[in-house]
Amino acid sequence: MSTLSFRNVWVEYGNQFVLERINLEIASGTFLSIVGPSGAGKSTFLRLILGQEKPSQGAVLLDGQPFPAEPGPDRGIVFQRYSVFPHLTVLGNVLLGYEMTASPLTARLFGTARKEAIEKSRALIEAVGLGPHADKYPSALSGGMQQRLAIAQALAKQPRVLLLDEPFGALDPGTRAQMHALIKPLWREHKMTIVMVTHDIKEAFGLATRLIALDRPRKDPQAPERFGARITYDLDLTRDSAVPVLGFIRASVHVAQ
């Protein structure tokens, strides 16, 4: 189980309000898409879950428990770029996750332990379709292949929550479609909670089981930073209805228990 809870979360930098009054329960196994205009705090939202940022008020809980305010192995991430290590081969990139867990001092494995880890890594590399490229360095991979690698890398830790920060934003439409076809089965198979930030509305509706939109509902033209973004729409995409039209359902800003 891996429920994420936002309890009355505010994020502000000095006078600048980024997020205000965010109340949200993300059930275990949800594929959540976050959309919204630039500067509406989508990335901040993700960084809160990552632990890279602390809320100014309120709390973010994982399974009802607060977690340390730094990135950890229970929350994996795939960024738009720079997610893979250029100095390691595809295999080395995936292997690193196992090595860091098993060997605190040297972060290297030897003998049978290494063989087992390599086997597990190869299976993951195979699962994301990079089998023939296991010994290449990332610089020899295309953008789509690098993102596949980043996903395999994150899966190695079996994270409870997988965060995707515009993971397919830099890819061409064909590659993006391939990535969509890849991520959905992986999500089902590994029973993760996925939180994905995207600019691609089609992608947001097509992949997710739930979609939230962040925006600033109140605007002060003299001080645009005075009011933070809130959840303006919260759509359940699993029901057997036609795809809901944006703006059809108002979000409840209170915790829906």
Binding site: E99, M100, A107, Y137, S139, Q153
Partner: protein, 273 residues
């Protein structure tokens, strides 16, 4: 007729073009040397090539009458040992401190300014201090190289660490990496190519410090020899020594490039981008 900026020489002509300036310089020297000899048979300023070859041969193959050493090789060994020690120690300190300052905000706050200030001390100004503190032996010469080279390496490497994409460090943490693990498995390997580059650039300054220290207080070494024979206007020793030092530095540089390409192929794979 293509534009000049689009004319690319092929392999053969590239080699020829590279050799041409060297041949030209050699030609000028030979002509000038012969000219001066013709005017004054005792001229010492531009000794003919034959004389320099003879002297070099004597220095390299005949033991010195007083000490019994083969002078050229004894000088080279002494100097290279000092240089290697100096650069090696600098590299280790540079890596450790650069990594710490770049990766750990606390270390950056604590040492960053110190290193920036220390790197402004002219190393030659503290040479007397080194002679007084460490004596006239090997140690003071090695320490001079270390003092001259390390601050630059530290600053360069710490900047390199700070310029690494934040995403990588976060990703490493989500893979379960501790600070130590991230340092040795993610950051350290990625700044190694930069260290190689830094060392290449520092070969010149390292030789400068080495030869200065040897010139002032030493009994063996390339710099010592040059400054010793200067009293007798022995250009036939000085010039071959200068060529030899230059050659050594060039080989060093080449060896570093070769090693970098072998050890860190990933760093050179993006060259075509």
């Amino acid at each position: 007729m293509p534009r000049a900026m689009n004319v690319v020489p092929n392999r053969g002509s590239r080699l020829l073009l590279a050799l041409l300036p060297f041949l030209l310089i050699a030609l000028i020297y030979v002509v000038g040397s012969a000219q001066r000899r013709a005017d004054n048979p005792d001229d010492k300023l531009l000794p003919p090539v034959s004389e320099m070859v003879a002297t070099s041969k004597r220095l390299a193959t005949e033991p010195d009458r007083r000490s019994g050493d083969y002078v050229l090789w004894a000088d080279t060994a002494a100097s290279l040992q000092r240089l290697a020690l100096g650069l090696g120690i600098s590299a280790v300190i540079g890596l450790t401190l650069g990594l710490a300052i770049g990766l750990l905000p606390i270390a950056g706050a604590g040492f960053g300014t110190l290193v920036a200030v220390l790197s402004m001390i002219p190393p030659m100004a503290v040479l007397p201090v080194l002679f007084i503190v460490f004596g006239l032996g090997e140690l003071s010469k090695v320490v001079l190289i270390v003092i001259g080279v390390t601050p630059t390496l530290v600053r360069d490497l710490s900047l390199e660490v700070q310029n690494m994409p934040r995403e990588q460090l976060i990703k490493a943490q989500t893979l379960g990496g501790s600070t130590w693990q991230v340092a040795i498995r993610v950051v350290l390997p990625q700044i190694m190519p930069r260290l190689i580059q830094g060392l290449r650039l520092m070969i010149g300054p390292a030789f400068l410090f080495l030869i200065s220290a040897e010139a002032i207080a030493s009994d063996v070494g390339l710099g010592y020899r040059i400054f010793l024979v200067r009293r007798y206007l022995s250009m036939d020793v000085i010039l071959p020594y200068v060529v030899w030092i230059t050659l050594l530095a060039y080989v060093f540089d080449y060896a570093l490039v070769w090693f970098g390409r072998r050890a860190f192929p990933w760093a050179y794979a993006q060259g075509s981008r």
